[in-house]
């Protein structure tokens, strides 16, 4: 194909765009299906699934499903909970993990390689397999809050945040990135009298925009999509996140239009977050990949 087109740059360009567009269709149609379905009444939604109409905003179009969805569940509260839990975890996680990554790359200390091996090994522990032991543990952990000392972390934001602040993948990503930073810079800063904290905060972190964006997106996705854990630890509605809220929509007769509306509502913030960070993000992975 490429050889045939060699002589005709315009044709070649058209073919390229066609290929790109066809592939784009494959990626976008299911998401389009979700958004369009959210505008249709149940019966039409289900009838449309067998034809091209599934992707088109035609027929009986309205925002009724959204209205019904907001009446069925406190969606605003679920969103706020998710965004709060996710936001705090991402910010604290970036701090803690970048510090650890910094320490593993630039500092030399006893037990470092064992600690790093342990962190790598945690990458292969699926969360589902440690959920129960973790539940037993957090239900007995102490806490000192504004209202005094208490035992047990259930039904709180902290139980959804603190266990997930540090994770192996983020530490690993930061470490990989830091390895590629010029060592001379660090040395020079030390010679000029910077403390290690200053080196980390004033020299290394300002150079790490791209990796921060990458880690932020990955952590955001992982946190925002939490399901099993919140089911186990949030018995009070006021702490529930969006994916637990999804369960509100599966009743004896599932209203699929409302489900689609809810799915759209909870997907849009993530898309927005990604689009906002994407420039930095793509540049960032560009630099992480270097070392591999």
């Amino acid at each position: 194909m490429f050889r045939l087109d060699k002589d005709n740059p315009t044709l070649r360009l058209i073919v390229r765009y066609m290929v790109l567009t066809l592939i784009a269709l494959i990626f976008v149609t299911p998401i389009l299906f979700m958004m369009m379905s959210s505008l249709k009444p149940d019966q039409q939604l289900l009838a449309d699934t067998s034809s091209i109409r599934a992707f088109l905003p035609i027929g009986d179009i309205s925002f009724d499903n959204y209205k019904a969805a907001f009446e069925r569940a406190p969606i605003g509260m679920f969103m706020l909970n998710s965004l709060l839990v996710t936001g705090v975890t991402v910010v604290l996680g970036l701090l803690v993990c970048s510090m650890a990554g910094f320490s593993f790359v630039f500092l030399n200390w006893r037990g470092k390689s064992i600690a790093f091996s342990i962190i790598l090994a945690t990458l292969i522990v699926p969360f589902e397999t440690i959920a129960i032991p973790m539940l037993l543990m957090v239900s007995k952990l102490p806490w000192l809050g504004l209202d005094g000392f208490s035992w047990g972390w259930l039904n709180s934001y902290r139980v959804q945040i603190i266990p997930f602040i540090a994770d192996g993948l983020t530490i690993f990503l930061f470490a990989q990135y830091f390895k590629d930073l010029p060592k001379e810079l660090i040395e020079a800063s030390r010679i000029e009298g910077c403390s290690w904290w200053q080196v980390y905060w004033r020299v290394v972190m300002p150079l790490s925009g791209p990796i921060i964006a990458t880690a932020a997106i990955l952590k955001f996705l992982a946190m925002y999509n939490q399901y099993l854990w919140p089911i186990m630890v949030t018995q009070q509605e006021q702490y529930r996140p969006v994916l637990v809220g999804l369960q509100y929509f599966f009743q004896l007769n599932t209203a699929w239009g409302e489900v689609m509306a809810y799915l759209t509502i909870i997907t849009v913030p993530v898309l927005a977050f990604y689009l906002a960070l994407q420039r930095a993000f793509i540049a960032s992975i560009a630099s992480t990949g270097v070392k591999g």
Binding site: L154, I231, M232, Q235, Q247, Y248, F250, L252
Partner: protein, 425 residues
């Protein structure tokens, strides 16, 4: 809870200040937490809120605080809370799950006068180990839903409670309906629903064949009852439904399950009273709710729906029981029935309802419930039995070897019983 308690303490210590405070003590009620599985269901929420408000207003000791959970993850939430010692005072529990929670020590027997519930349908009374642990505000029943005209067309006899279809007759009806070529499938079993629907709706078939999930005389073994000749006969029949194209299998489209009967894709549907109003509205007098076929050991349908119990962790079992007893009033039972379409558990409540009073459109379900209902095995091992049974039926429907599958199922149930030291206390 903490706040009200502190308030009460403050007031007690301040008692010396004078009797002027005594009257304010009236609002120093003790909180009782209540968990319910109805989150996301507005109609259900309305009734339960009504009961809670009425109860709180009716007395001065307790203040019930409701927390709703989505049904799909309710059991997971409760189990997690139980592990974390975080159970509420009052919680609702699916009937067959109750013995497991009671055995594990998470429920305590109700402090309710047995005479109060003497005339309740047997399916709603949660007895285990000789004690009443839970009580339901309604029951549910399953019927063979179809249309008179559909059956007349193929010349099928319309069965009655006293004279239900036999296995042969039932298979004959399916065959004739299939032969008309008018339907995608003659029978919708509801395979699109997973989970508890399988043991609830289908284990009565097994029982009518003479088998069971477990030997109910001891609750110690499934060998012979789940894989004996009767059970294998049931399994072969079950598989034939799918091999012959009588019923859609595991991958049934959920939308078809919801609307298939109404749209004429299916001729009959094995389904519950909660969906019956839809059918009535569509077909009117033509609609039929028929009793289960008799496969040799009497016609059977499942019983026991959601019920209320008191957690062992509750510091106020009397208050918790009081609330449940309060909820057992006929008007609430009728309200649940009217809004959810469920079966009221007493005759007196039934007379208050639109659909279940004498001659009401759905009164046949009350009769079915009374005549054919059999509770699922009352044992802590039921949780595992139900899961194993569900998988076995799904596998057999997919074409697995019947005897081998039931053997595996019986083995798994027995291994579980052994691991739990016989589920004895």
């Amino acid at each position: 809870m903490k706040i009200t308690k502190n308030l009460a303490l403050t007031l007690l210590s301040a008692g010396a200040l004078g009797s002027a405070f005594v009257s304010t003590c009236a609002f120093a009620k003790t909180d009782l937490s209540l968990w319910y599985h109805g989150a996301g269901n507005k109609v259900e929420a309305k009734v339960i809120n009504q009961i809670v408000n009425d109860f709180n207003r009716s007395q001065s000791d307790w203040n019930v605080v409701l927390e709703s959970f989505p049904q799909g993850s309710y059991n997971d939430s409760v189990v997690a809370a139980a592990l974390a010692n975080n159970l509420p005072d009052i919680l609702d529990v699916d009937g067959p799950v109750m013995p497991n929670w009671a055995w594990a020590g998470y429920l305590r027997p109700l402090l309710i006068d047995k005479n109060k519930i003497a005339d309740f349908l047997p399916g709603v009374k949660g007895y285990w180990d000789g004690k009443l642990y839970s009580i339901g505000l309604w029951d549910s029943a399953v019927a063979m839903v179809t249309r008179r005209s559909t059956l007349n067309e193929v010349g099928a006899r319309i069965p009655t409670i006293d004279s239900p279809w036999t296995e042969e007759e039932f298979n004959g009806v399916l065959k004739k309906l299939k032969a008309t070529g008018k339907y995608d499938y003659p029978l919708d079993l509801g395979m699109a629903e997973s989970g508890e629907w399988f043991p609830y709706a289908f284990s009565p078939f097994l029982q009518s064949f003479g088998g069971d999930l477990i030997d109910r005389s001891t609750y110690k073994t499934a060998e012979g009852t789940l894989n004996g000749p009767e059970a294998i006969a049931f399994g072969e029949w079950w598989q034939s439904l799918f091999v012959n194209g009588y019923a859609p299998g595991n991958s049934q489209d959920p939308a078809d399950h919801e609307t298939g009967l109404l749209e004429g894709k299916y001729a009959m549907q094995w389904y519950g009273n909660w969906a019956a109003l839809k059918t009535l509205n569509k077909f009117g007098d033509d609609a039929l709710f028929l009793p289960a076929p008799d496969f040799g050991h009497g016609p059977k349908i499942g019983a026991a729906s959601w019920q209320f119990g008191v957690s062992a962790a509750s510091k106020h079992p009397q208050g918790a029981s009081d609330f449940i007893e309060f909820a057992l009033q006929d008007k609430y039972l009728a309200a649940f029935s009217d809004s959810l379409g469920v079966i009221p558990p007493t005759q007196s409540a039934a007379t208050l309802t639109t659909n279940y009073r004498q001659g009401g459109a759905l009164s046949v379900f009350y009769v079915l419930s009374k005549a054919q209902a059999l509770v699922r095995p009352v044992t802590p091992g039921y949780i595992v039995e139900a899961k194993v049974f569900e998988k076995a039926l799904a596998d057999i429907a997919d074409g697995a070897d019947v005897a081998d599958t039931l053997d595996s199922a019986a083995d798994e149930i027995n291994a579980d019983i052994e691991k739990n030291r016989g589920y004895s206390r």
